[in-house]
C-alpha cells in the first residue's frame, strides 16, 4: 500500500525531470511538453494531498489546474506556430526578437 510520501516522491521526480527538460532542451515544443510534465507532477501531488486530508478539495484543485494547463497549451502552441512562421525554426536559440535579432537569424 503506497503512502503519501511515495506519491510525493514520484511527483518530485517527475517535476525534476520537467525542470531539467526545460533547461536542457532547445526545441520550444519539447520545452512545452516538459512544462506539461511539471504541471502533471503538481496535479499528482494535489490529488495525493487531497486524499490524505480527506474530502474532494484536492481533486477539485487538480481539475482546475488541468483546465489552466489546457488553455496554456493552446496558447503556447499558437505562439510556437507564430515563432515558426517568423523564424522558420522552433529552436529557442533563434528567438532573439529584442534588438531585431529575428531578422539576422533568417
Amino acid at each position: 500500500m503506497p503512502s503519501l510520501n511515495h506519491y510525493l516522491l514520484l511527483s518530485l521526480l517527475l517535476f525534476g525531470l520537467g525542470v531539467t527538460g526545460v533547461l536542457i532542451r532547445r526545441n520550444a515544443l519539447v520545452i512545452l511538453m516538459c512544462v506539461e510534465l511539471m504541471l502533471n507532477a503538481a496535479n499528482l501531488a494535489l490529488v495525493a494531498f487531497g486524499r490524505a486530508g480527506g474530502g474532494l478539495d484536492g481533486q477539485a484543485f487538480a481539475l482546475f489546474s488541468m483546465t489552466v494547463a489546457a488553455a496554456e497549451v493552446a496558447v503556447g502552441l499558437a505562439i510556437v506556430v507564430m515563432i515558426f512562421r517568423h523564424t522558420g525554426s522552433t529552436d529557442i536559440e533563434h528567438i532573439r526578437l529584442v534588438g531585431g535579432g529575428a531578422e539576422e537569424n533568417r
Partner: protein, 172 residues
C-alpha cells in the same frame, strides 16, 4: 496488489518523462508524454479519483497530445533542422541546476516527509465530485469557462494574425 500497481505505473510515468527528455525527435517526445499521462491516470485510479482519471485521459491523453502532434505535423518537424535537435549549449550546467532543484525539493523528506496516511477517504466518483464541484466550487468552475474562452480567442487571434502578417510580407 496496490503496491505492485504503484511501482509499475511509477516506472511507466518516469520512463515516459525520461523519453520526453532524452529523445531527439519531437514525435518520440510526444509519445513519451502520452505514456506519462496514461500512467498518471492510473495513479488517479489508485488514489480513488476515477472521474479525474477519465478527465486526465480525455484532456491530456486526448486533446493535449493530439494538439502537440498536430503542431508537429503542421510545422513538418520530422525533418527538423539539426540545430533544433541539439541540446542547449550549457546542458551540463543546466542539468546540474535541475538536479539541485530536485535535491532541494527532496529536503522535504528530511524530517520523515509529510505526515498522514492515505486512509480511504471520500471517493471521487462522478456523483460525489459533481456534488462538490457544483456546490463548493461552483464560482471557480464558472470562471474557468471565461478562461477557456479567452484562451480560445487568444489562440485563434494569434495564429490568424501571424497568417495576415506573413501574407502582407509576401505581397511586399
Amino acid at each position: 496488489m496496490e503496491g505492485i500497481l504503484f511501482v509499475l505505473l511509477s516506472v511507466m510515468a518516469l520512463g515516459g518523462g525520461l523519453w520526453v527528455l532524452l529523445r531527439r525527435s519531437p514525435v518520440d517526445s510526444v509519445l513519451g508524454l502520452l505514456t506519462t499521462m496514461v500512467a498518471i491516470a492510473g495513479h488517479y485510479m489508485l488514489l480513488d479519483a476515477p472521474f479525474l482519471a477519465a478527465v486526465q485521459l480525455i484532456v491530456y491523453g486526448g486533446a493535449v497530445v493530439i494538439l502537440f502532434m498536430f503542431v508537429i505535423m503542421l510545422l513538418n518537424l520530422r525533418e527538423d533542422r539539426p540545430s533544433a535537435r541539439r541540446l542547449a549549449p550549457g546542458r551540463w550546467v543546466y542539468a546540474l541546476a535541475g538536479g539541485i532543484v530536485l535535491l532541494s525539493l527532496a529536503g522535504v523528506f528530511q524530517g520523515g516527509g509529510a505526515p498522514g496516511s492515505l486512509a480511504a477517504g471520500e471517493s471521487g466518483t462522478v456523483e460525489a465530485f459533481g456534488e462538490a464541484l457544483f456546490r463548493r466550487w461552483v464560482y471557480p468552475f464558472e470562471l474557468t469557462s471565461v478562461l477557456l474562452l479567452a484562451a480560445l480567442v487568444g489562440a485563434v487571434a494569434l495564429t490568424r494574425q501571424g497568417q495576415a502578417a506573413s501574407k502582407a510580407e509576401d505581397k511586399a
